[in-house]
């Protein structure tokens, strides 16, 4: 039974190799001459004016969470679309109910002003 998992092991090993080898090679082979200018954080051509670990606006989280929420439904929609012909009306209606519930959430967040930045 374990033998069936061999391809996966192989996949993990290759993946690790592809990630690790270039970094190691670069560190070993590349020239290494640091100076203060080079070590300073790069920020789109500006001078760095703040620490990178700053607080940021909680609204980013809100947007992120809402994004994930509505993005994930796609994960259901793709397989559903692929087999829609076979699952028939029942499948169609089930998805519509699911979407309707999402729409309720969407209406709620819209009306509550979660989509407005200010």
């Amino acid at each position: 039974m374990l033998a069936e998992y061999f391809p996966i092991l192989l996949f993990i090993l290759v993946g690790l190799a592809v990630g690790v080898i270039p970094v190691v090679l670069g560190a070993l082979l590349g020239p290494h001459r640091p100076d203060p200018e080079k070590n300073s954080p790069y920020e789109c051509g500006f001078e760095a004016f703040e620490d990178a670990r700053m607080k940021f606006d909680v609204r980013y989280y809100l947007v992120a969470i809402l994004f994930i929420l509505f993005d994930l439904e796609i994960a259901f929609l793709f397989p559903w679309a692929a087999v829609l012909g076979e699952i028939g009306l029942f499948g169609f209606v089930s998805m519509m109910v699911f979407l309707a519930i999402l729409v309720v959430g969407f209406v709620y967040e819209w009306k509550k002003g979660a989509l407005e930045w200010e």
Binding site: I87, G88, F90, G91, V104, K111, K112
Partner: protein, 495 residues
């Protein structure tokens, strides 16, 4: 190929509730008015419709066992009765706390929607016939409760409580899920009835058996968290105290019914053949809970916290009923024992509703009735409320002829019938310890002078009438326990 349609009618209560909750959310968005009267009424209607739908299903199936959604969902008498009970509990909680919530600016559409979704989660748990369905319901319920606790965003205590609840709840969910995966690994199925069939054919002492027991330990850990028994109880006092009393009222009542259903689904429906194993685990949990719950409650000065510890003790007592069902492979007493546990849970929910409801009722605008001192001399200030509280405390302490006494008696007689004499003795002794702090409340109400600063009572009339009915119901059930006991018996028989 077309998929055959499942029997939707069996899940009518959930469907009605879901539709109602969604509609409420939208309705509330467009409703005006400070008091949210329309929304509250709407929520009431949804609860009513849910109860009606449950009754409809109950009458429709005539109590016959029925599965639907490919065996993911079961409708039996126990599920339906518990659903009715939970609906009633949520409705009562809402009725008790309406003024309290309004005074504190918490009476929002979100609260109502969360309440309804929490109820939906409970119902799904009650009707779960698959580990996944159960988990789904549990998460729906828990997530709603987390946000309810944090509803008062500006209160640091509430936020802290919600945070703790959430983190620990997530941990417990993880444990439960891990246990479920073990069960799945050992039996290859998620359907509870199927699990039961697999377990019944199991060889004793096989590797699979050990694997299953391993899973059962985790399952019980998750379950114990939900019930709040030692050592998975730590969240209870902090959350009960931290949450606004109205929310505590919700957390401390209806979810216990769901937790009971969950215990029965997992342990009785699924793993009855492993009873010898899980009963021993429950013994540990039960004794620890009764001991720690009752003893710690004594040292509390906050009524909510005291009642939180009392919950721990009561749930420990309820476990006594669950663990006395099967003795050495003999199932004769099982129905009595489980019915006693169910009776205990239902009565506990009633008592808890009354006790927290009374605290909510006694709290005024800008005044939280939550320290023991706040109850001082209540008899002098409002004798009727004091009398109802007295009934509640007597019932919690198990003084005859209240329902609490009969509940304790029936659980104890099941324990004794199971031959667990020493457990019964321990339970009685620890209940005696418990009687102390309940009676202290009575003493404070009746024999102490009221504090000078005690504010006048402003509770509204319908809440008072309902609370009185709640308190008196305990007396009536105590004197005439047979109908409720009979219902519990029928429910357990229907499994």
């Amino acid at each position: 190929m077309t998929t055959p349609l499942p029997d939707f009618a069996l899940a009518l209560p959930e469907i009605v509730l879901l539709a109602g909750a969604c509609a409420l959310l939208i309705f509330d968005l467009f409703a005006r008015g400070e008091r949210r009267e329309g929304s509250v009424r709407f929520a009431g209607l949804v609860l009513l419709a849910t109860a009606a739908a449950t009754l409809f299903v109950l009458l429709g199936t005539g109590g016959a066992l029925a599965y639907t959604f490919n065996g993911l969902y079961v409708a039996d008498v126990m599920a339906l009765l518990l659903k009715l009970g939970a609906t009633l509990a949520v409705a009562l909680a809402l009725a008790y706390s309406r003024r309290y919530l309004h005074d504190r600016g918490l009476l929002k559409g979100e609260l109502l929607a969360l309440l309804l979704f929490a109820l939906l989660g409970m119902m799904v748990m009650m009707s779960a016939n698959s580990l996944l369905t159960l988990y789904l319901g549990l998460e729906l319920l828990s997530l709603c409760l987390y946000s309810l606790v944090a509803l008062n965003r500006d209160s640091p205590v509430s936020t802290e409580a919600a945070m703790k609840y959430f983190v620990l709840g997530a941990l417990a969910s993880g444990l439960l899920l891990y246990g479920m995966s073990m069960i799945y690994g050992a039996t290859g199925t998620l359907t509870i009835t199927e699990v039961a069939r697999q377990v019944a054919n199991l060889q004793a002492n096989s590797a699979q058996h050990g694997f299953l027991v391993f899973g059962v330990v985790f399952l019980i850990a998750g379950l114990a968290f939900k019930l709040g028994v030692v050592p998975f109880h730590m969240w209870i006092p902090d959350v009960y105290q931290g949450a606004p009393t109205a929310v505590t009222l919700v957390i401390g009542t209806a979810p216990k019914l769901a937790a009971f259903a969950m215990a029965v689904r997992l342990l009785v429906n699924g793993l009855l053949d492993l009873a010898a194993d899980w009963q021993q685990m429950l013994v540990i949990l039960s004794v620890l809970s009764m001991a720690i719950g009752n003893i710690t409650a004594i040292a509390q000065t906050n009524v909510k916290r005291m009642l939180a510890y009392s919950t721990i003790a009561h749930m420990g007592f309820m476990l006594l009923g669950l663990l006395s069902g099967v003795v050495g492979g003999n199932w004769l007493n099982a129905a009595e024992a489980y019915a006693a546990a169910m009776f205990y849970t239902v009565v506990y929910v009633l008592m808890s509703l009354g006790a927290f409801g009374m605290l909510v009722h006694l709290s005024g605008k800008g005044f939280e009735c939550e320290r023991l001192e706040d109850l001082k001399g209540l008899n002098r200030r409002s004798p009727w409320q004091a009398f109802i509280m007295l009934l509640l405390m007597f019932s919690l302490a198990g003084v005859p002829p209240t329902a609490g006494f009969y509940a304790k008696l029936s659980v104890l007689s099941a324990t004794v019938a199971a031959g667990q004499i020493w457990l019964a003795v321990v339970a009685v002794l620890l209940s005696l310890v418990g009687a102390f702090y309940y009676l202290r409340v009575v003493k404070l109400m009746y024999f102490d002078d009221p504090a000078e600063t005690a504010p006048a009572l402003e509770g509204e009339r319908d809440a008072r009438v309902l609370l009185s009915a709640n308190g008196l119901a305990l007396l009536v059930i105590g004197i005439v326990p047979q109908p409720l006991m009979g219902l519990c018996f029928v429910a357990i028989k229907s499994l």
